[in-house]
Symmetry: D2
Subunit: 506 residues, 4 copies
């Protein structure tokens, strides 16, 4: 397919790009792992998210909540912040801050024994709301003491995760969740009014009912609410085979429409109109063993979403940054379809680059189309293009993007991620799908997972310079173009160099 976009000088297009505001993570206890920290370091060095959100703050492997009986037999709560501090120290050293999710229930505080995931997060309400509130408060006070009030009160707080699912909250008991929310939100504000708190952290099941009821409850109860949260996934129900689940992608626009409905519900309350909505989880598939996640296809699909999600939402947190993740157990292989931007063994997946590329899209937006976003910076134009042909039958997309220009010479830089040039999944498959690749294989996988970099000289004429991009199926391409007159050193002549390379056999 061929597309032509002509960009007028001075034109500006709306684009709220907050792709790097937050990213998801496996449960907090896994943040103690070396591999986790190495993956996060790689992500931060290349992409640089501002916040990180995941489950498990209060789960027992973090060991925060403790109890003992005193001489009179009374239960006394104790708190142990050894691991919490270790994780937070590491986060801050990587210049990322938590978007705190409060949950799940410490066993000693739990009213039941229902758990979620391989790692058994307890999902029952607290046996004592007083002790739960104290746990939240003591944790926040400890963090303030260690990191300072200005720092810690800037960390957004979300109450629980997906209470609209029975798996995550006993009986998906809405009333009980509202109680939890109110108790918790008030407890937080009692520590410091500057904290921002939100909910209901729902996914797309009965979401309209839940959102409406939640806002009604907040309105009537006067519980504090600073922002609204929900999740967003875009597949049809998957089919399981052995250790894996095969999911089919859904219509991205249908998904965006659901989010718009949420936006409208929130705005329908005068009290909440325009309140920030944070998508605290999003991805294509909602399962951590969906091979789809590792494909170039996923990268192109997410590129489209990143061009759209800011329309109705303040932020949207890709679930997750890396593949140190155990919700369905420890993975068998590095390319098992995990959520991560990075595969185990420090191999960036194609979607990693989608985020790295969108990170560059700061500045004045001059073009936002179904397959292209371009922004203007002080001294250059930057753009991201993608080829998400719905039937995935291999059609190439040729984009011509005419940008305002003078008569100068320009340099066009492209970084190309497609199935041929940056496709570690295929390389891994070609290697025989090794479950535990060794050092040399991992090095090869990393080398194969880099974008192809190309440069080109262009010349402006008649007020424009034409950037021509050829996108293979599922390609995501970053480009930038800037004035680059050749200022050769005295005596240097590139053409002469290239034209005198024949071998002269006398």
């Amino acid at each position: 397919m061929d597309k032509l976009f002509h960009i007028e000088s001075g034109k500006e297009v709306a684009f709220h790009n907050n792709a790097t505001y937050c990213v998801g993570t496996g449960r907090m206890g896994l943040a103690l792992h070396k591999e986790y920290q190495e993956q996060l370091k790689m992500v931060q060095e290349e992409i640089g998210f501002s916040h990180i959100r995941g489950h498990g703050l209060f789960c027992d492997d973090m060991a925060i909540y403790q109890e003992y009986k005193d001489a009179e037999g009374n239960i006394v709560s104790e708190y142990k912040f050894t691991y919490l501090d270790r994780v937070m120290d590491d986060y801050l050293s990587l210049n990322i801050r938590p978007f705190l999710e409060l949950g799940f229930m410490p066993e000693k505080l739990a009213s039941g024994d229902q758990t979620v995931f391989y790692w058994k997060g307890n999902v029952t309400p607290p046996v004592s709301y007083e002790r739960w509130a104290a746990l939240v408060q003591e944790t926040l006070r400890h963090l303030i003491k260690r990191y300072g009030e200005a720092e810690v009160t800037g960390w957004p707080i979300e109450v629980w995760n997906e209470p609209n699912l029975k798996g995550f909250w006993k009986d998906a008991d809405m009333k009980e969740y509202f109680k939890l929310y109110e108790y918790t939100a008030n407890a937080i504000k009692a520590v410091n009014k500057n904290f921002k708190v939100g909910g209901p952290a729902i996914c797309g099941v009965d979401d309209e009912v839940w959102m409406t009821e939640f806002l009604e409850f907040v309105k009537s109860s006067q519980a504090p609410l600073d922002f609204v949260t929900r999740h967003h996934y875009t597949i049809h129900p998957p089919e399981r085979e052995g250790h894996y689940e095969y999911a089919r992608l859904g219509d991205p626009d249908a998904g965006l429409k659901e989010l718009n409905t949420t936006r409208k519900i929130v705005d329908s309350f005068p009290e909440f109109q325009g309140m920030h909505i944070h998508i605290t989880e999003f991805n294509t598939a909602y399962i951590p063993d969906s091979p789809l996640h590792d494909t170039n296809r996923n990268a192109a699909y997410i590129a489209y979403l990143l061009s759209k999600l800011g329309e109705d939402n303040e932020s949207y947190s890709y679930w997750t940054f890396g593949d140190v993740f155990e919700e369905r157990g420890v993975p068998y292989t590095p390319f098992h379809g995990g959520f991560g931007l990075v595969a185990n063994g420090l191999v960036p997946k194609p979607t990693f680059w989608t985020f790295k590329f969108f990170r560059e899209l700061q500045g004045k937006c001059v073009c936002r189309e179904r397959e292209l976003v371009v922004v203007q910076k002080q001294d250059k134009y930057c753009g991201v293009a993608w080829n998400l042909n719905y039937d995935n039958t291999g059609e190439i997309l040729n984009i011509t993007c005419e940008l305002p220009a003078g008569d100068e010479e320009y340099c066009l830089v492209q970084k190309i991620v497609d199935e041929k040039h940056c496709n570690p999944l295929k390389v891994w498959h070609d290697l025989g799908e090794p479950a535990n690749p060794g050092t040399a294989q991992l090095k090869l996988l990393r080398e194969s997972a880099q974008p192809l970099v190309t440069t080109q000289r262009l010349k402006g004429s008649a007020g424009t310079v034409a950037v021509a991009l050829e996108l293979q199926q599922n390609a995501v391409v970053y480009f930038e173009i800037f004035e680059a007159p050749v200022s050769s050193d005295r005596g240097y002549d590139y053409n002469k160099v290239m034209n005198s390379l024949d071998i002269s056999v006398e």
Copy 2:
């Protein structure tokens, strides 16, 4: 052009591959530089040479030789090993050892004031051969004391550099050089008989005369001689423009024939028959501002030389590993045509990869042709192919290499260096030829200077597996092929993954 090579099972072909025995360097004083050490670290991590050879051990910036007058007015020699130790410590920490070149003359020992290069190496005979011999001996004794006899006596020693040129040795005085050689070689052996010493370190000017006379002299004088050394460059006389020199490549086979003549001269002496010849310098152009060095062309030309130089020579030391080099002054730009495998700013040039690829060619050689070498290792075949079409007019070379195989499935890995995929010179030109690229430009240059990695699955049939390589002009391609049956984890089906990526809009 199309070429087919059919390799019989069990066949073996002669190939003495010693590409990584030694590499050249800018003068020793530059080894104190941080950029020098970083470039060397990069080279050692990726290629891993065994030895390093360059000029300047006794030049005044190394500050080894000192003198003062005692109370009676006698000259007393002193030695200062502060910088020597620093350099040798760094070399050994990078697992590289010096191939010691003795020279040039400390000013206080010099009989004249003739110098060579921007950095003014004094090239006159010693004013006192006794003090020269003492300098050599004290230096070796110091090294032995610091690093141990076993270590240091394993470092080969060469006497002076290119005495057959007036620029490097006053009047190119043959007799005086022989005197220097004899004095020095005897002084070395007096320290420790295990040292290996050689000369005459000549380049290709009057080389037949010099080599013959040198061997005659050694024979008659009984001076110690453990190996013979000479240099090898392959261009026609260049033309200067501004800061640069434009050279035309010569016939590589004509050059190899010259080396064969040297081999024959040496072998014509019964005393020296079969004695090792070390090419202690080689490259295409012999000038450090020849843009040719930075091209993909250079990489392909050197690949051919590496496939041939072992026929007559024990080793051949590429001049040089990096571009921290000042013979004609400090470079104006990173791509100034320096000798280095690495451009300033830590950008690997195409020829860097030629060496990295040849390093892998250890094992039983099964094919050595004008454009291809293949070796067999325990569990795979590795090969390097190149396309050195003499007229450089763009013809593609298609190689089919049929290797012995069973009926199994194989994985073919290719790493491709060509003008499109790994050509930092072009990227630098496209950027406008910045004299001092900043951090972001250097990062881009490094990213653009990596080989393209691709993989492919092949199937053996009828006793062979056919490796098909398409080489662009001046391409150098590394490949390896090995059995790689797909052992999928339970439930994982790559084809199913790839075939269910369409978007289903309901």
Copy 3:
């Protein structure tokens, strides 16, 4: 107290020093932690143990053993080596190798639900010995495939841990353990005869009976046995208060006598006479919350043990290298009395230095006394001295050690660890016992945890040089002495420097 030791030239004293053969560790799952790996790195860089042994190889957090039911409803075993490889890769990268302990029981293989520790290691016999044996064999085969036969068959293997305690093995059932041992040892040898296997890994409860019965069983059953293992702790039963246990040190010689009894039992079997005994765990207290471990006292006590344990045992593995350890839960503070040589936050404890110092005691032993060991190396004498006054009432120990010497000048280097100079526990207490010290406090703790280094010039006379050491209570002092004539540079005069430092006010 004053002690004089006069050492005759040429004298040699028996001393089997194997202090760095092996070290203990928290459960293997904790080896995934970043803090664990950083502590181990520090230990390896400074001390350098050869092997590492701990529990938990087969516990569920390592996720090795998996099962599913096939279409016919049969149980099929699967193995997941993702985490095992990660841990082993890291161990080998730090140049340490596992001393494999086989245990505990994966839940799916367990015959009961009895567990040990906060982290719930299942301690019941396998529900199927066939599947247990297969688990052992598949694990070893996987390791051989990944790391090579030569490497992996060099890793010693021990069957289970402390089966003579009910807590570690259901009912401390001796017969069942022998069955486990026989099954397992035979399974190992079936994989590769070169593996070395041992048991019974008992601690000091009923140890004489267990050792005798075990050897009788091996003898009669012909089960493979390559070495014998047991544990060694030296405290009286402790008293608990809150989170801590206060233990009193026992007589070290009484403990050594117990070990000698084990030696005699083994030697009483002609088949096993002289067989290696590995103490696969030792320390003072056997509990991970015993403040004793953090003291200088512990360092001095362990020094004495290290001077003695080699008399009857091949090796002795200090339990443990670091404080990433969860047997009684996550620690509340860095100085909680953990087993580790290193406190959390990378602070070396006094006992760390005992091991670092003993590591130097390689060479010909010339003196081994209750408070001193001295060895002779090629060019120096090295020694370790300690002051373990039993009543801990503060008496200083003055040691004079007369060593064979010429009339030369010598340099004596001392590294002093005592309650005044290298006592991070006291510094932590003085800081107010912070539960979670911040960056600046940790830096201070690390600075305070370094030995005091002092040097001194001595002169030999009458054939000896006298080393005088003043040891504060619980001091452990390393020293070395070597010839060091002053070879001043021309014009340098140290005494003149020091004698002209007055300020002259004119």
Copy 4:
């Protein structure tokens, strides 16, 4: 001697502490060295200076100034910023900025051949003031282009070095210097008015005359002048022996009086009253082979100066940060009396710690005496004390410092640098004064060069807490004191731990 200082609550004492504003360095070309950068990195990590000043910006090893003749035979200037950018990049990466000294003269611009130092800096006026001005301007323009206007115009600029000495400026020709100054200052301002420029960079020879004449000239010529600069050294003329010079320390107060005279001269001009004076070099001895620099004595002397220099001067730049320095040639040994805070081999000298300690003295000064400075910070008091007994005969100084306090418990931390605890010069001497210490010796030297850290618990009473310091001769001691109530974890009792360490032999 005993001293008591009682500090009233609320009292404030004047103290302009700018110890870390600037530090000196060997010539700029040495900044290319790896050892130089490693030393600077160490200095920046521990001390953190803001600026760095040294000679050699325009010397030929930096290779900035170039010329060629065009076709008509005219001289054309060229500029080569390859090395300058490398140095500036490294400086900025270590968070230090240049205090630019313009000099010396590129050979091609020089009017004569007089040079200074082993490395031969040309000290003659320019042959063309136009080309000199162009050189200055092109260099500044290049820096602005690379690093931005805001960054670069913040770098202070000083014209030449010590023109009042014949060695540094031909004939110490005052008139010629004023010409140079005027030309240069105007050229700088023509590039950007925001640059700050100063002079006359004189040392203490004829300084009063020079300073007065310089200011008269500036006044009359209207040449730009933003600040005044001079140097400061405090020894009597030294005596040479072999490679070394033995200097006697002068009265520090006499030196300070000279500086006060400069202050008065400046203030005597209404136009310049209160103008900043930057001491762009200071140290004890002004020679780089004065063993004094390596002593603890030097550290104590400098401590006193740092407590005083801010009285009349805006800043004072210690000459120099490290010992990569070649003014009198390459050093023979690491402890050769170089200017550096760090000895070659990365060993901090005692004076290093003086700067590190003074760096902490930010906040409200509450005490400034001849041997003590104390400041109050938000949550603690920090102080530095020193014992500079003039006759250096070994007298101990006991200081009691009574600080305002409540009844709480306090922790006192001391870091002690004295001849016993942090004296690498003595250790090096005791080792035999090795000219080229190996890795193990350097490690020992580094270990011996750390302050002794001790802590102590104190209790406030009657409104004060008394800090008692015992200072050995030439000691420099840093201390801080802060509230530190012991908050023991449940069950932890430090005294119980320490009181139950006896060995119970039953």
